[in-house]
Chain length 347, copies 4
């Protein structure tokens, strides 16, 4: 069966990536693409790399233009999707790539975002370990999905196995991320200009203020943590895409190295899109460019008493659009991997 699809925010990076992936999805057919300031233009004028969509013109984003589709992807600026989503039919599958429906806690929402809290939808990271089972179990038949924050899901996938297995402590977690500027979207800000980004590493949201922190904590609580604390620092580096998250945690006293490693092996054995590399190997972001794959390397630093987990994802694929489609597949009862690439584009 073919599902009719609408993509809002189609002129942005997340919207463009949704369309790139859906072009290879055998069950999805894009009927409608919407935008704000670019409405009225041919899609391909704004996204010239999407050659298979020369027939589509961007419409204005509204509940009307989005109505009547089986699946609606919202790739809107944070804060914009709540109102639109509320007007869509309950049996339409809606996947929000923005932050509006990610946090369960109104307090966390208020502290890190502010404004109206629209409540939480089913979180779209199927492989995420939970105390019992995985997040996958909750995605079947849902009609409202919150695609994850790219940094948050990368860190959550990196640390949740150890939390669930009790092999790492939940405080003094530290994660530092090298991230490409596409994660910040197409917003016109001086610090995102090419001349500023090239040849430079630029930290931002330092010191516990990044909005993905409560999302990580929420995921770690699902894995069994009570009150996890994490120092989280993203650094923009000169690559258009990609996240390389280096996460480290204190090993629970008395746990040996093999048991630590086994926690991650158990969590991701058999997973197509989250893979733990053999001992001594670590991933590069190029290995997952364009792919829905999270590659992970793990080392035990016995002298420091800590485990180090390095995870590479493409922020626009596994971090956003790929996670959204993978979750949509589950919600629709399709094969989970349908239409999603696992091989990266390297070099």
């Amino acid at each position: 069966m073919t599902y009719s699809v609408a993509v809002s925010g189609a002129s942005g990076y997340a919207g463009g990536e949704l369309l790139r992936l859906i072009a290879d999805h055998p069950e999805f057919e894009v009927r409608t693409v919407t935008a704000h300031s670019n409405a009225g233009q041919p899609l391909v004028a704004v996204q010239p790399h999407l050659r298979t969509y020369t027939h589509l013109t961007l419409k204005e984003t509204s509940a009307e233009t989005l109505a009547g589709h089986d699946v609606v992807f919202l790739a809107l600026p944070h804060g914009a999707s709540g109102a639109v989503a509320a007007q869509l039919e309950p049996d339409t599958l809606v996947i929000d790539c923005g932050a509006d429906h990610r946090l369960e806690s109104p307090d966390a929402w208020a502290a890190f975002y502010g404004g109206e809290h629209h409540g939480a939808w089913t979180y779209g990271v199927p492989e995420l370990p939970r105390v019992s089972g995985t997040q996958r179990d909750r995605l079947a038949k849902t009609r409202r999905i919150a695609a994850p924050g790219c940094n948050a899901s990368t860190v959550a996938l990196s640390l949740a196995p150890g939390i669930r297995a009790g092999v790492i402590e939940e405080t003094d977690l530290v994660s530092v991320l090298a991230v490409g500027p596409s994660g910040a979207g197409k917003s016109l800000k001086a610090h995102l200009l090419g001349a500023e980004i090239l040849g430079s590493a630029n930290p931002y949201s330092v010191g516990g203020v990044h909005r993905h922190i409560p999302e990580i904590q929420q995921a770690l609580c699902w894995a069994g943590a009570a009150a996890p604390t994490i120092s989280f620092t993203p650094v923009i580096v000169p690559m258009s895409r990609g996240i390389l998250a280096t996460s480290t945690a204190r090993i629970t006293p008395g746990i040996d190295a093999a048991t630590v490693r086994a926690a991650w092996e158990d969590a991701y054995v058999g997973e197509r899109f989250v893979q733990l590399l053999p001992e001594g190997q670590f991933p590069r972001t190029a290995d997952v460019l364009g792919a829905n794959t999270a590659l992970m390397g793990l080392a035990i630093d016995e002298a420091a008493g800590r485990v180090v987990v390095v995870t590479a994802v493409d922020n626009l694929v596994k971090g956003t659009a790929g996670a959204a489609i993978q979750s949509a597949n589950l919600a629709l009862g399709l094969t989970e991997a349908t239409g999603l690439p696992v091989n990266g584009v390297a070099p």
Copy 2:
């Protein structure tokens, strides 16, 4: 007075940077440049950016070619400088940019480098806080200087103020660095090829095995630590130069935010080449490109109970060649900043 200078390893990145800086040093005159496989070539054929040295030809590196100079800079592969250095006159000022003379502990040397331990020379990071005073005090009149490892000195400068002041704990230190590939030198390795580096973030020496770890621990001990433990992960990112080190430490219980910040302010007040930025500001590596400057930003993450220090340096300048020249200035009784740039080349 003019000091005659020889630079060995002049065809490499550290050697080239020494020459670039010395060209603007009013008291230094380069008489001899040496190399290994490039001996016999005009310097400018190998280092075409150094237009002021068109009169120099690379000689073979040996004790003979290096003899008879007031100042000798060794920028040789690790393990190569010990033998050469042993043959130079005791009153010649020798600065080793390699690792051979950095570590005091034979055990640390054996564990991380192996082979013969040549003992430790005076460590060339003047601003480094020690329990009493700074490393600067030890550099006056020395004739043997070990220029620092670029990653090590960046992290040591980032954390030593807090250790000395007792405001951070010495265990569970974590440092993750975004580094440019010039730090790895000109060695012909597949993972350092441009096609591999571009568009990708690549971790290496993950899990407590990087050779700069004992050097960091040594410096933190000088600042008062007893047995510091640090999780240290470098990530190569696509910029030719630069280190952005994100370091974080648990705040000592009972210490308030202002006291934490004051430790760093006290350590670096009045320093020209190590500057703490105002609260809320964090450095980018572009800000220090080509300069002998370490820029530092500090945040208190109260929820995580940790301080985060982000430090940017140019690995070839403040990390290596600039530190070497700054230390040499002190050893010779010259004004410490002679010939050293403080402004970066940005954007």
Copy 3:
């Protein structure tokens, strides 16, 4: 039907890209991968981005290991494929991604390559306009295909339409290319190191000595030129992949702008993988990253009396591996576009 496939040179960039593309080809099944120094290793240890090939181990490249497949792709260093190819069965489809079988003229071979000339195979650029028809016509049922040089085919596609239509002159052609370093392969050369490539534009083979020049001239002769002359300069720029070729030619006196443009429109109307953009639009290499697409923009510079054609390709796809597979599809009677992506990965 499923064709069994062998890929030699599978540890290199062209070999890796063949494998990435074939993974999505419904009629091809990779049975054998071969290499030289990496033989014996798991493929995925050398090409960690190719997650679908975890079952394959690299064998030694030889006629024996390559024998017995329906399709053999040779991605070997220049000069290495002639001997291997001679030992393969005549009815095996062999596609050589090296230069050995591209040039018809022994003199051109001698002047630009030297050594034994193995003769020319059918040139693998289906859309290339010829005096009569296109190169596509010659690819049906051939069993020996020479995949093109990436720079050569990009320039040939850019200029052949104007030559064939007689709207541009065949002398004083000029082409300058911004190219990524992956085009130079994985060879360990100092000027290809990341630190050298980052932040720099580096010309090479300046002044009429690049080996792709006779290949361009050959293609332009197929389009009707008698003795074309072209100034051709490639410049390595800091992007892992991609070619942006700016080609310009003197407009034949008396030809008006619309007629010039029509030559290119006629040549590529209906082509899936070679597309002329609307007037006033020009391509970026990001638009074709990972895709088998050549995007072309054309402008008439009336004051200079010249046409300017800007063409973007991914050197590893449309420039090499994609062209090879597209040509193989034609030779086997498959739908030409089978398994080949047309959308780029951007940003």
Copy 4:
């Protein structure tokens, strides 16, 4: 003697580079820095790499704030300097880094810029060969200098020697430039975002419409051309700074290779900041990063009947701010090279 200096547009890239260079100029002292939207901020908040200027605050750009200085540098958006300049004292040395005073021809101004034509000031490229002598001769004692367009001066320096010597023809000139995005300034445009620039080569102003074309033609006429025609295409590539211009011209019939090369040798012999490399060598932009140096390589392509000149400059130094200071030195009777670096920052 110390000259008091004001820099307007100090928050932009050209303004920042003027300040970086002037910091090392022994005769210049910056008293005033001005800006538009950033007025009121500390300079170092906007230009954090300029550590020697922590004492300066940005004032509003106006004739009042700029009055009373010996030297005023205008680094304003095109069109903004005419009005300000008209209000400055006649004996103040004013250097305009914008385009407003570069073109002598009102027609060329009208065709490529439009709006009021403010007339031409003395063009600030000292080494530029003219039919008789060089541009240097006209800069002594002038009080109004037009700093060049970075692309224009690079191409003019590349081709003027051949025009003056009559060894190349003045039509069918072609120049293609790889340029860094800092040349476009800090303007907030989507195509200049880091995510768009990284990993991509992006042409712009294709087909004879770039504003630097009449400036190149003007310079070539000064060298003896009557009505030169040039096809000029800039391509933005992922490096923050730098121009690599590949320029090619038809060799005048009957002129041999040695005579061609001699034209460039004669033009630049003894020049510190414009250097022709030995035969067979070509420059990279990294070789001139941060330096006031133009490095040039020249090849004769006998088969194509053309000379190829490859020139590397740093667009912000030799292309703009360095040219401005070098010209100011001449106008003030100072040693021409005062305060200007000749060595590049590489790698």
